[in-house]
C-alpha cells in the first residue's frame, strides 16, 4: 500500500499548507485537509495524470462531539482507470459548520450532501438545492448528532398499560 502513500504525498507536495495529516489504517490512506481548499484538492485529484480519481465513491459525515473540531466530512475518491482510491477528510467546527460543496465537480454529490446536511446540520456552500432529504421538511434538530437523543417507546405491560396508551398519539374523538 506504499503506492497509495506516495499518491497521498503527491497531494502533500502540491498543497503543502493544506494537508494536515496523512493517516494509514488497515491499508487505507486518508488525507486530512483544510476545508477551505477542498475543491482545489479534489480538482487536482480528478485531473492529475497519475491520480485520475474521476469518481466520487462515497460521502458521509461524522460527529465527534464533544471534541473540537466537532464534525468531519469523509470523501472516498476512486479512479476507474487505475483502480486505486484515496479518502479525503475535512473537519468543521461545532458552531457554524460550513464545508464547500462538491456538486460543481460531481453532480452525484447532490443527495449525499443533502443527507449530511439533514443528519448533521453541516452546510455545504455552493450547493444548489440544500434542503432536508430524509427527515420531514419542518423537522427541528439534526438526528445523527451525538447530542440528539435516540427516541424510544415504552414497553407495555398490564401494570402500565393505561399510562403508556395515554401517551400515544392516537386520534381522539
Amino acid at each position: 500500500m506504499s503506492d497509495l502513500l506516495s499518491l497521498a504525498r503527491k497531494i502533500d507536495d502540491r498543497f503543502p499548507e493544506v494537508v494536515q495529516e496523512i493517516v494509514e489504517f488497515r491499508g487505507d490512506v486518508t488525507v486530512e485537509i483544510n476545508r477551505s481548499a477542498l475543491i482545489e484538492v479534489c480538482t487536482f485529484c480528478r485531473d492529475d495524470e497519475t491520480l485520475q480519481m474521476n469518481r466520487l465513491s462515497s460521502l458521509s459525515g461524522v460527529d465527534y462531539w464533544p471534541e473540537e473540531p466537532r464534525f468531519a466530512v469523509h470523501y472516498v475518491l476512486h479512479s476507474l482507470a487505475l483502480n486505486h482510491e484515496l479518502r479525503l477528510k475535512v473537519y468543521a467546527p461545532g458552531d457554524h459548520p460550513v464545508v464547500p460543496s462538491l456538486t460543481a465537480l460531481w453532480h452525484g454529490a447532490d443527495w449525499p450532501e443533502r443527507e449530511v446536511y439533514d443528519m448533521f446540520g453541516i452546510t455545504f456552500e455552493g450547493h444548489p438545492n440544500l434542503r432536508r432529504i430524509l427527515m420531514p421538511h419542518d423537522w427541528t434538530g439534526y438526528p445523527q448528532r451525538k447530542d440528539y437523543p435516540l427516541g424510544y417507546e415504552e414497553v407495555e405491560f398490564t401494570f402500565n398499560f393505561e399510562r403508556v396508551q395515554s401517551k400515544k398519539p392516537f386520534p381522539r374523538e
Binding site: 489504517f25 488497515r26 487505507d28 486518508t30 474521476n54 469518481r55 466520487l56 465513491s57 462515497s58 460521502l59 458521509s60 459525515g61 461524522v62 460527529d63 469523509h74 472516498v76 476507474l80 483502480n83 479518502r87 460531481w106 453532480h107 452525484g108 454529490a109 447532490d110 443527495w111 449525499p112 443527507e115 443528519m119 438545492n129 432536508r132 432529504i133 430524509l134 427527515m135 420531514p136 421538511h137 438526528p143 445523527q144 435516540l150
Partner: protein
C-alpha cells in the same frame, strides 16, 4: 392562466390557509421551470402510494403534454434511522439492522457490514465460510434480479413473467430458510464467518436448483426478447452516457450498461472472489434494454460462480476461532469455564474494536454498496454509514428520464432497480 394560491386550494379541496399555500409555491420555485407557474406545463404528483414506484417513492413531475421536463424524486418515506440506531447497539447486535436496509439483498448487506468489522479487527475468515459467503451472495444476487425482472416487466405490462420469477425466487428463499430459519431477514453471515454450519438439506437443494434455473432463464429471455412491445418500450429509452456515469457516481449495471467495465468483484475482490472464473457482462448502449440484458446475463454468471463454489467447497470450521470476537460453540459451554466467560462477555458487553475507520465496498445486486465504519475503541460503532446504490442511483432519475414520455419514466424507474429500504435506510 396564472396559478394563484386560490387555484391550489380549490384544486385539492383541502382547507388550507393562504400562508401555507404561499409557502408551498415558494418551495416549488427553483425546482421546476417558471413555465409551471404560468400553467404552460403540468405539475403532477406521482406516489408515494403508486404500484410502479416500487415502494414509497414520491416523484414530482413536470410535464409538457406527455413529455417529462423535470422528475424530482422525494424520498424519506421509509426512513427508519438505521444508522442512528446502530450507534446505540453493540457491533454484533447492530448486524440484524443491516438485513432490513435493502430487503432484497439481506445477506449482501450482512456481508458488507461483516467485512468492515473484520477489516478493523483483522479477523481471518476460514475458507469454508468464504466459499459459503460467495454462494449466498450470488444466490441473493439471483433472487434480487428475479424480483427486479418480475416487477420491471410487470410495470411494462407482462404479467406472466412476474409469476414465474416469484416462483423461482421461492426456491432461493426456501434455501435461506433451510440454513437460517428465516426466509429474508437471515442475519446468517456474522463477523468472523457464519452463524452455523450448513444444514444437511442445503447442498442437495442447491444442486437441484442449479439444474433447474438455467432453463427457466432461457425461457424468460425467449418470452421477452422476441416481444415487440417489450423491445419498443426498452430500446433507446433512458439512455445513460459514460459522462453521466462518472458525473453522478453510478455503479453496477448503470455503469456496465454504458460500457464502463467496473465490477467490484473483479476490480478489488473480497471474500475470495478472485478464486472463481466468471465474466462481467458489458453493453455500450446505456438504455433500459442494455441493463435488462446485463442483469439476465449476470444471473447466468452467478449460477456459474455458485457451481464452482459448490464443487470446491472445503471442509473445516465455518467461523473463526478467535474467541475475542466470535462466540464459542454451544457444545463447549457445558465443559469449559473459559467458553462460558467468553459467551457471557460477547453477548452482554460485546467486543471492542481498535479505534480507526474503514470504508469497505462490495458489489451488491444494484451496484456499489459501501460501509464507512468509524470505531472509537468502544463496544458500539461510533458511526456507520451505508453508501447504498439505490440512494446514489435514484438521484439521477430526473437526468435519465428527461425528455422521455411519462410511460418511459416507469421503464426507467424499473431499470434503475432500487428499493426504498436501501435508499432511505
Amino acid at each position: 392562466m396564472t396559478l394563484t394560491p386560490d387555484d391550489l386550494t380549490h384544486a385539492t379541496e383541502i382547507e388550507s390557509d393562504h400562508e401555507t399555500v404561499e409557502l408551498a409555491l415558494e418551495e416549488l420555485r427553483g425546482r421546476v421551470t417558471d413555465r409551471a407557474f404560468t400553467g404552460e406545463t403540468l405539475l403532477l404528483n406521482m406516489g408515494p402510494q403508486h404500484p410502479s414506484t416500487h415502494g414509497v417513492l414520491r416523484v414530482l413531475l413536470e410535464l409538457e403534454g406527455e413529455t417529462v421536463i423535470t422528475a424530482q424524486p422525494e424520498i424519506g418515506y421509509l426512513h427508519t434511522g438505521i444508522e442512528k440506531n446502530m450507534e446505540a447497539k453493540t457491533y454484533e447486535k447492530a448486524l440484524v439492522m443491516t438485513d432490513r436496509m435493502d430487503y432484497l439483498n439481506n445477506l449482501g448487506n450482512n456481508l458488507t457490514y461483516c467485512l468492515a468489522i473484520e477489516k478493523i479487527a483483522e479477523l481471518d475468515v476460514p475458507p469454508r465460510a468464504q466459499y459459503m459467503r460467495v454462494i449466498l451472495a450470488e444466490l441473493q444476487r439471483i433472487s434480487s434480479h428475479l424480483v427486479w425482472l418480475a416487477t420491471h416487466i410487470l410495470d411494462l405490462g407482462a404479467t406472466s413473467v412476474m409469476l414465474y420469477c416469484f416462483r423461482d425466487r421461492e426456491h432461493i428463499v426456501d434455501m435461506f430458510e433451510m440454513l437460517s430459519g428465516q426466509r429474508m431477514m437471515t442475519s446468517y453471515i456474522r463477523p468472523g464467518g457464519l452463524w452455523r454450519d450448513l444444514t444437511e438439506d442445503f447442498l442437495p437443494a442447491l444442486r437441484k436448483y442449479l439444474d433447474y434455473q438455467p432453463k427457466k432463464l432461457d425461457d424468460y429471455e425467449r418470452l421477452l426478447d422476441n416481444n415487440p412491445i417489450f423491445l419498443e418500450r426498452t430500446k433507446g429509452v433512458g439512455v445513460v452516457t459514460q459522462e453521466m456515469v462518472l458525473d453522478w457516481g453510478m455503479t453496477g449495471q448503470m455503469a456496465r450498461g454504458s460500457g464502463i467495465n467496473y465490477d467490484i468483484r473483479k476490480a478489488s475482490p473480497y471474500t475470495g472472489y478472485e478464486r472463481f472464473e466468471f465474466d462481467v457482462p458489458l453493453r455500450t448502449e446505456g438504455d433500459v434494454y442494455a441493463r435488462y440484458i446485463i442483469r439476465i446475463e449476470e444471473m447466468r454468471q452467478s449460477l456459474r460462480i455458485i457451481r464452482q463454489a459448490m464443487d470446491n467447497l472445503p471442509d473445516g470450521p465455518f467461523r473463526s476461532n478467535n474467541r475475542k470476537y466470535v462466540p464459542p460453540p454451544r457444545s463447549e459451554l457445558g465443559t469449559s469455564m473459559e467458553a462460558v466467560i467468553h459467551h457471557f462477555k460477547l453477548w452482554t458487553e460485546g467486543y471492542s474494536l481498535p479505534p480507526g475507520e474503514v470504508y469497505v465496498r462490495t458489489e451488491s445486486p444494484k451496484g456499489e454498496l459501501g460501509v464507512y465504519l468509524v470505531s472509537d475503541g468502544g463496544p458500539k460503532p461510533h458511526r456507520v454509514h451505508f453508501r447504498t446504490p439505490s440512494f446514489w442511483h435514484l438521484q439521477t432519475l430526473g437526468e435519465v428520464s428527461k425528455g422521455y414520455l411519462v410511460a418511459d419514466l416507469v421503464a426507467v424507474l424499473g431499470s434503475i432497480d432500487f428499493t426504498l429500504g436501501d435508499c432511505d435506510r
